[in-house]
């Protein structure tokens, strides 16, 4: 199982802050396409991805047990 975490506007668009999916292995790129198709996410433009709390690239393959967080442009401070 993959745990997907959504924040800020992505959370509002999808109406969910956490989604558990039985899809591994899958690339982040494929995961994005699925979330846009099935979870009302409008866009992942400018959105970073972290796998297990480290920034990752689109080509990375996500495995069972991974936590994938989609991180819109940050605005702390």
């Amino acid at each position: 199982m993959i745990k997907v975490l959504l924040f800020a506007q992505l959370q509002e668009e999808s109406g969910q802050n956490e989604i558990n999916l039985e899809l591994a292995p899958i690339t982040i790129k494929q995961l994005k396409e699925l979330l846009i198709r099935d979870y009302s996410i409008r866009t992942f433009d400018n959105v970073m991805v972290a796998v297990n709390e480290e920034f990752a690239q689109e080509e990375e393959v996500v495995k069972n047990g991974d936590i994938v967080a989609f991180i819109p442009p940050v605005s702390g401070g």
Partner: protein
């Protein structure tokens, strides 16, 4: 002890607490930065702000900033606390305290830490206006990350 130097908190932040965390006998300077909720941004009135964080990763990234500072300014000690939840005008959103043997490094390291927070710590703010709300990305709202990862600051350890 290292852990509590970097915190995400639902509760109001205390400057005294942060200063106490970095106070050391070998230091001659402590620089503090206090980020507060601003009422007007480019003429538009903010009613309140909501901050959200990916807490576990945010703390890791704050710790990373602390390490970067200690590498760039040897002898510096850093503490950072960021508040989340609903904040009102003039509430404190973030405090950075840096102690160093001499003052110049304290100012520089403190400014560096704030820039790095704005680049890569997973914290977001939502503006509430009279006519709506919006999650704000990177202040200006428009920084693309073509490499999928922010790459600011100088990661001299790489």
């Amino acid at each position: 002890m290292k852990q509590s130097m970097f915190e995400i908190s639902q509760e109001p932040l205390s400057v005294e607490d942060l200063v106490a965390k970095v106070t050391r006998r070998e230091c001659g300077a402590i620089a503090t930065f206090i980020g507060t909720v601003r009422e007007f941004t480019q003429g538009k009135q903010t009613l309140q702000l909501e901050y959200q964080a990916y807490e576990s990763m945010a703390i890791k990234k704050l710790q990373q900033i602390g390490q970067e500072v200690e590498e760039k300014w040897p002898g510096a000690t850093v503490a950072i606390s960021h508040r989340i939840g609903l904040l009102q005008i003039s509430d404190i959103a973030v405090i950075i305290a840096v102690s160093t043997p001499h003052r110049k490094a304290a100012y520089e390291a403190n400014a560096y830490a704030m820039e790095r927070i704005k680049e890569m710590v997973p914290i977001w703010k939502k503006e509430y206006w009279h006519d709506g709300t919006k999650w704000i990305g990177d202040q200006a709202g428009e920084t693309p990350y073509p490499l999928g990862e922010p790459h600011g600051g100088g990661e001299s350890h790489d």
